[in-house]
Amino acid sequence: MSDTTVISAEPRDRVGKGSARAARREGLIPAVVYGNKKDPQPITVNERVLMRLIHTPGFFATLFDVEIGGETTRTLPRDVQFHPVTDRPEHIDFLRVSATTAITVAVPVEFLNEEECPGLRQGGVLNVVRYEIEVSCTPDKIPSSLQIDLATAEVGDSIHISAITLPDGVTPTITDRDFTVVTIAAPTVVQDEAAEAAAEAAEGEEGFAPEDGEEAAGEEGGESEE
């Protein structure tokens, strides 16, 4: 089960981009606590504290006790909006959770025995299809991570969700198929080098290759449609 982290927050009186930007200028991140049939409450969180927490594995699967003016609310972070260029968090959503409601949560996958894995030792590549698995459970049963043992995995092997033992009361949200979590792919270096050599040879002659074909397609629009 995942641990609970305490995070202190201040209530936000005004909402909207003006006050949100003012908060960001002061090193605070605007956030909201909502759900559990109560009114949403706008808050601000210290940016430094939040940055440290966001970059810990399994942030979205960790329960947070948000302290707002002496009152504590148990929440689960649901979404973080980042600035597209600076990657600074701009806003965060916290969902109020009650002990009885089942919630959907993305739990990180952890790989064990990577050094001993025969497939990786032979030069195979660990191709992670899902870094997180979405599961449904009650808040007190959220696993901190789902562990996959690679001790016997060979090149070409795929590990599916059925190979992972989930704790009691935890079920994957995808139930219609046995989806792949990770594969051990063969190294592709030989193909790559051959392809690169061929591409290099072709490039010398090329120039603006698509022009001819495209010219015909572009000028005789009717024909190209067919």
Binding site: I54, F82, Y131
Partner: protein
Amino acid sequence: MLSPKRTKYRKQHKGRIHGNAKGGTQLNFGAYGLKALAPARVTARQIEAARRAITRHIRRSGRVWIRIFPDVPVSTKPAEVRMGKGKGTPEFWVARVKPGRVMFELDGVPRDLAEKAFELASAKLPMDTKFIVRLGER
């Protein structure tokens, strides 16, 4: 090199690149990525050079994803030709990249190798870039 298979029109206006990227700003496939910090037109040749720099550096392992595509034709006029007499002929393809766009992603390699590979790739690209890591990755 990357180029569209067929296009509706041969020539396009030059255009300008305004604002920040709206999509493709977070990692979607790999654990590491290379993000653009400034607007630029990236040519197919530059994308290929960067891709090659990455794959050569990571050698045996890893997987690379290219998340930009050069779909804008750029035309040029021949040397010593006076202005007018119509637009020049399409010469190469470019991708219009806005700041914040994740251009390349990489997975299956240690962090230091990925950082070096992207440093080499960045030298082939026309704008400042930064190395980004998946949330929760150390």
